[in-house]
Structure formats: C-alpha cells, structure tokens
C-alpha cells in the first residue's frame, strides 16, 4: 500500500507542522465557540413543560427514559454489541490464565466495599426518579463491584450459569424491545407509555438497564468468554486453511 503510511509518517517527520495545524484548528474551534450569536437556549423549556406527563420528576431521567428512550434502547444494544465482539475476539482460545494475585488489602477492601457498592447502586436507582442518579450511574457502580470481584480473580463469571449470564446481558435490550412493541400492538408509537403506567415502566426499565449495564461492564472488563466456553485450541488448522 503506497498510500497507507501517508497519514502517519508525515506528521511524525514534521511535528511542528502538525502542531501549527492543530493550533489553528483549536483557534478556529475556540473562536466559533466564543463568538456571540443568537442563543436559542436548548430544550430546557420543552422538557419542563412535558415533565409532568413523563412520569418522573428528574429531568435527566425523563429525557433518557421517556423523551429520548429510543437512544437509550440503542445504547443498551451498543453494550450488548461490545460484549458480542469481545467474545468473538476471544473465542479462538487466546486467553491467558489469570494470575491469582490477591493481596490482603484487596480482600479487605472487597469485604468492606462490595455490600456498600450494591447498597449505593440501589440508592442511585431509587434516587434517579427524582434527582441526580439513575440506571447508568447504578449500572456503573454495579459494574465496578464486578470489576473488584474480578480483580480478586474471583471466578464469578465462570460460576454463574452460562444461560443466566447471557440472559442477564440481554435483559435490558429485550425488555426495551418488549415495551416498545407492546406499545405498537396497542396502536401507540414505539416506546410510548400510558400516563398512568409511565412511572412504573420507567422504574422497571431502569432496574433492568442497571442490571444489564453492570453485568456488561464486568463482562467487558473480563474481556473473555467464561471458562467453560473456551474450546480446545484449533488454531493450527485454521491458520493453514486461510480465511
């Protein structure tokens, strides 16, 4: 490939040129950012006007799980997609065994923190409907708890029944789709909630999303298939056969 190196080589040879170009770029960005213009003012007013109908009193949660719930649905699918790709990358038996390097500090930390983390996650989930917090914050903390367990080389991803892990990861995407399709079958647009059910549906979606996000994050951190899935290395044949 004659052209492939073009983009990489030239900046390395002429760092000052790159520097000047990037500074110019930054200057342009900053100028455009600072230039006073008519400020349209975003969507704060619209959100406030429809907040009562959304079923929750937290504005961010209302945006995430009601006004723009379709974004959140796709986002759950992005996490699922990440797990799919990471698993497919690691299914060829390239996983190296993990060193069990458990320090006393980590073990103590884990004992102290894990219950607290699960508690905080639950609180964030509950707080999300009225103030800062919600499914993603809770999911992130659950994921953190999972990471802590994995650091301790606790094989919880391996002990967990395979079916449970896979269903747990797909719980949020499936539940979102089910809610959306249920609305469609009743003649409403996709992902529309009835007013009297909105709060309940949003809380249920949040719980499912937090759970799946936490599990996805821990699985992504592990970066591999659970042990029982790994096949005996067959790469020798595979390499010979090409494609």
């Amino acid at each position: 490939m004659v052209n492939s190196g073009r983009k990489r080589v030239s900046p390395a040879h002429r760092p000052w040129l790159l520097l000047v170009l990037l500074l110019l770029f930054f200057a342009a960005l900053a100028w455009v950012y600072l230039v006073p213009g008519s400020v349209p003012g975003g969507l704060a007013r619209q959100v406030d006007a429809s907040l009562v109908a959304s079923g929750v009193s937290s504005r961010v949660t209302a945006v995430l799980l009601n006004f723009r719930a379709y974004d959140t649905l796709l986002e759950c699918f992005i996490l699922l997609l990440g797990v799919m790709v990471v698993w497919s990358l690691r299914s060829a038996g390239t996983t190296e065994p993990r060193q069990p390097a458990v320090g006393a500090i980590l073990a103590a930390l884990e004992r102290l923190l894990l219950p607290l983390m699960i508690l905080v996650a639950g609180y964030l989930l509950w707080a999300g409907s009225s103030q800062a917090g919600g499914a993603f914050q809770a999911g992130a903390i659950l994921g953190g708890a999972g990471v802590l367990l994995l650091l301790d080389s606790s094989p919880f991803l391996d002990i967990l029944p395979k079916k449970a892990l896979v269903w747990g990861i797909t719980l949020a995407p499936l539940f979102f789709l089910a809610v959306g399709v249920a609305a469609l079958t009743q003649g409403r647009p996709f992902l529309t909630y009835r007013f009297q059910e909105a709060s309940l549906v949003i809380v249920a979606l949040e719980v499912a999303a937090a759970f799946s996000i936490g599990l996805c994050l821990a699985t992504l951190f592990a970066g591999r298939l659970p042990e029982y899935e790994s096949e005996p290395a067959q790469d020798k044949f595979a390499a010979k056969r090409g494609e």
Partner: protein
C-alpha cells in the same frame, strides 16, 4: 401525551425486527443460521412494506415515545430513505442466502473445526445488528440518534471484519476501528455545535437552516469530515482496501455494498438543503474526481482479486460524491444520479465480492493471474462477476449506465463539462481494470488444482441474482426514480 396522528407503525419494523433477530441469534446458538435466515426474510418483508407505503402514501413519520421533535426523536421515511432501506433489504437478503451456503460449505468441508462454528455463531447476531443499525440510520430524523446508530454500524462492522481471525484482517480492523471512532467523534463534536447554534437535534430543521454563520459552518465542516472519513472518500480511503479485502467473503460484500452507503447517505442528508452547496459543493466533487482516477489506477495494479474489487470501491465512492454540485437546483436529476450510483453499486459490488469470495474458497487463493480456468469450476459465479463488472463500467442496459447517463446529461445541462468528462474517463478506467480481472476469470485455461471443497449452490446463485439485479436496474429505472420523487 402528545399523541400524533401521523405515527405510522410500518416505519419502525425494519429496525425492530433485525434488532430482535440479533438478540435471538445471540441467545439461540444451536441453529443461528436458521434464525438468521428467518429474521433476514422478515426484515426484508417489513422493508418492502415500508417502500410500498412510501410509494403509495407518501412521506411517513413515526414519533418515538409519542413525543414530537425537538423534544422527542422522530423517524422519517421519505423517498430516498425508503430507497436505501430497500437497497439494504435486497442486497442484504442476497448476502444472507450466500452466507448460509458459505458457512454450510465450510463446516461440511471440515466439520470438526470449532473455529468455523464460532465464526458463524458470531456472524449472525452481528450481521442482523448491523442491518438494524443501517435501517435506523436511514430513517432517523435526529442527529444525536444518528451518532449512536453510526457507532452501532461501526462497532458491528469491526466485529464482522475480525471474524476471519487472520493477522492482516486484525490489523486492518484496528485501523478501521480507530478511523471510525475518529469519524464518529468528529461527527459528535459537530452535533454539539449544531445544538449550540440551533437548540435542536432535529435533522430536518438543521439541514434546512444552514445559514453561513461561523458556528454552523464549523458544525457542518466537522460533520462532513467525520462522514467522509467513514465513507472512505479520498484522501481518507487508506483504511478501506485492507479491511474490505481481508474479511470473510460475505463480510466483504456487506462492508463494500452497504456500510459505506450509510455514512454517504448522511452526508447527502446534511447537504441536501442546498444552502451552502453552491459555494462549497465543488469540494466533495473534486475529492470524488481524484478518488475515481486514483482508485482505478490502484485497482489496476493489484495482484489479488479481492484487493482489486476493494480498490474499485474506492473509485466508485468517488462517483457517489462527484454529483454533489448538481444538487443545487431542485430539478432532482442530480439526486437521482447519486442514488442510482448507490443502488447499482450496491448490487454490483456485492455480486463481485461474493463471487470473488467463492473463488477464494474454492481455490484457496485469489491471485488474479492464477485464476484462469475458474469458470469451469464455478461457471455461475464467474458469470456473476462479469455481469457485476458490466454494471460498474456503466454499459447499457445496466443500472450503472442509467446512473452515468443521468450524471453526464445533468452536468452538461449545467455547463459542468469537466464533471461529465471525469465520469466518462472514469468509465474507461473502470473498463480497464474490470477487463483485467474478467479476462483472467473467463479465460478457457484448464485448471490443474483440485477444488478445496464443494461450494453450495446458494453461494453461486445468490451472487448471480444480485448481478442480474444490477443489470435489470437499468430497465426498471422508473420504479426507483418514482420512489425518489417522494420527498
């Protein structure tokens, strides 16, 4: 609740069905091929319903969650969107049938190999998710939602690229991923500036109100560069050939025929308003012209068939951009030319990549000079490859001919002679490299090598069906053009 009367449910199904299919294929690992075929056929059906509805009832809108923009997200199915969904459906169905045969042949050749089984298990959910993301991209009316869809497309494409597992494909996939992320982030920064300037994320509002104020120009520039990176327009094409050529056969076809069309279509969406097109529409046209010439020369100098076809994609992407100055006046012929290039390239390129993949599977290599005689082993695939080449060259009566005819006549009517000249020269150059490949494929030389494995019939015939469609597109031109008129 703001329940709106114009919420047509048929718009959302082409997104929901493949999403559901992806999850089912992910959960149900025993027979992913069966589930994959089922959901591909249903997706194709729902896409056809969408195309038919748009053709008969006009533009449809679906307000997700019952909230109208700018608060909520809307899906909008107009003529161009419906045409792209239909293109994805038809090409996607062909690729799906091919993939079924492809994995079946490889597993039958070596049933002990867990690797092929794992490849197939990963392929079906990724492919359906990619399909859903593309449909979502074509229909979405909200620029932040488009960003998420773009990321879905990018990640699933990378996932499909790495399936082959060969080191070159891994490195190519890494480069593809980094370029893709750079493109998405640039796009996202542009989204931020658009939101700052307009206070809304609705695409229709933004593309209509492209005023030449600094924030809008910056936003449009960022979005355009991000999308050009993802579409691999010259000079951002460097990542495409290795990624497309080193992937599995069906994946090469998916990437070349469909994935690049997603970001290209968005580029059209942002520029279609035309406000700034008169001033700077020349830039994509110039880059496209260079891409046509450069891609053709690169294609000609390749030793491997799949690399040749991949560089031909670089050249054909040029055609997708040269017609942008023609969009300025509203007669619609420039738009027709653009979209005709997109759909005929989709069918022709899928057919060529699928046929090239069949050669590779049968011979174990795709060196162009050693392909002589392959037509005896694979007559149908060879014919499909040649027919795809005919459409790329733009010989009548193929779809490629209609596209070039529309482009050249429109360019001449606007006194853009150089544009017409580029199109004609590009055709000549395409003919040169296509002849080089086709003459090798069709030469009556006797092949000494024995075929590696038995190729399923569906692999040969699905490629031929797509190639024939690329030709037939020239004859049935009124139908897609009528669909494009719905805006």
């Amino acid at each position: 609740m703001n329940l709106s009367p114009d919420s047509s449910a048929w718009i959302i199904w082409p997104v929901v069905v493949p999403l559901l299919g992806a999850v089912v294929c992910f959960l149900y690992k025993k027979k992913p091929r069966l589930a994959g075929h089922f959901f591909a056929v249903v997706t194709c059906g729902t896409s056809t319903v969408l195309g038919w509805q748009v053709l008969s009832q006009g533009v449809g809108r679906h307000l997700l969650g019952g909230w109208s923009p700018p608060l909520g997200i809307s899906l909008r199915a107009d003529g161009p969107a419906a045409l792209m969904v239909m293109m994805t459906a038809v090409t996607g169905l062909g690729i799906t049938l091919y993939s079924g045969g492809y994995f079946q042949s490889r597993l039958a050749g070596d049933s002990q190999d867990h690797r092929f089984r794992a490849q197939e298990q990963s392929f079906w959910p990724l492919w359906l998710l990619l399909w859903a993301a593309l449909n979502g991209l074509f229909l979405s009316g909200d620029i932040f939602n488009i960003y998420i869809s773009l990321e879905l497309v990018a990640l699933s494409s990378v996932g499909l690229t790495v399936l082959s597992g060969k080191p070159p494909s891994l490195v190519a996939a890494m480069r593809y991923l980094l370029v893709s992320l750079l493109g998405s982030l640039t796009f996202l920064l542009g989204v931020g500036f658009f939101y700052k300037a307009h206070g809304t994320l609705e695409l229709a509002v933004i593309s209509k109100a492209l005023a030449p104020t600094p924030p809008v120009i910056m936003a449009l520039a960022l979005v355009s560069v991000g999308l050009m990176l993802k579409t691999a327009l010259f000079p951002f094409h460097f990542w495409l050939p290795p990624a497309h050529a080193n992937a599995l056969a069906p994946v090469s076809a998916i990437l070349s025929a469909l994935v690049i069309k997603g970001s290209w279509y968005l580029f059209y969406r942002f520029w279609q308003g035309g406000g700034l097109l008169a001033a700077v529409g020349i830039v994509p046209a110039l880059l496209g012209s260079v891409a046509i010439i450069w891609g053709a020369f690169q294609a000609f100098s390749q030793q491997r068939l799949k690399m040749l076809v991949a560089y031909s994609t670089v050249a054909q992407i040029g055609y997708l951009f040269v017609a942008f100055p023609l969009l300025v006046d509203s007669a619609g012929q420039g738009r027709d030319a653009l979209f005709y290039f997109a759909i005929s390239h989709s069918c022709a390129k899928a057919a060529m990549f699928l046929a090239a993949g069949t050669f590779f599977l049968q011979l174990g290599h795709d060196r162009i000079r050693d392909l002589a005689g392959v037509r005896q082993l694979l007559p149908v695939s060879s014919f499909a490859f040649a027919l795809g080449g005919v459409s790329l060259m733009g010989l009548p009566p193929s779809g490629g001919f209609i596209a070039k005819y529309l482009l050249v006549s429109k360019a001449i009517s606007q006194d853009l002679w150089w544009l017409a000249l580029i199109a004609v020269v590009g055709s000549g150059l395409t003919a040169v490299y296509v002849f080089r490949a086709v003459s090798s494929v069709l030469s009556p030389h006797l092949l000494e090598e024995r075929p590696l494995l038995v190729v399923a019939a569906s692999m040969q015939w699905s490629a031929l069906a797509l190639a024939l469609l690329a030709i037939v597109l020239g004859i049935m031109a009124p139908l897609p053009l009528a669909l494009l008129e719905v805006t």
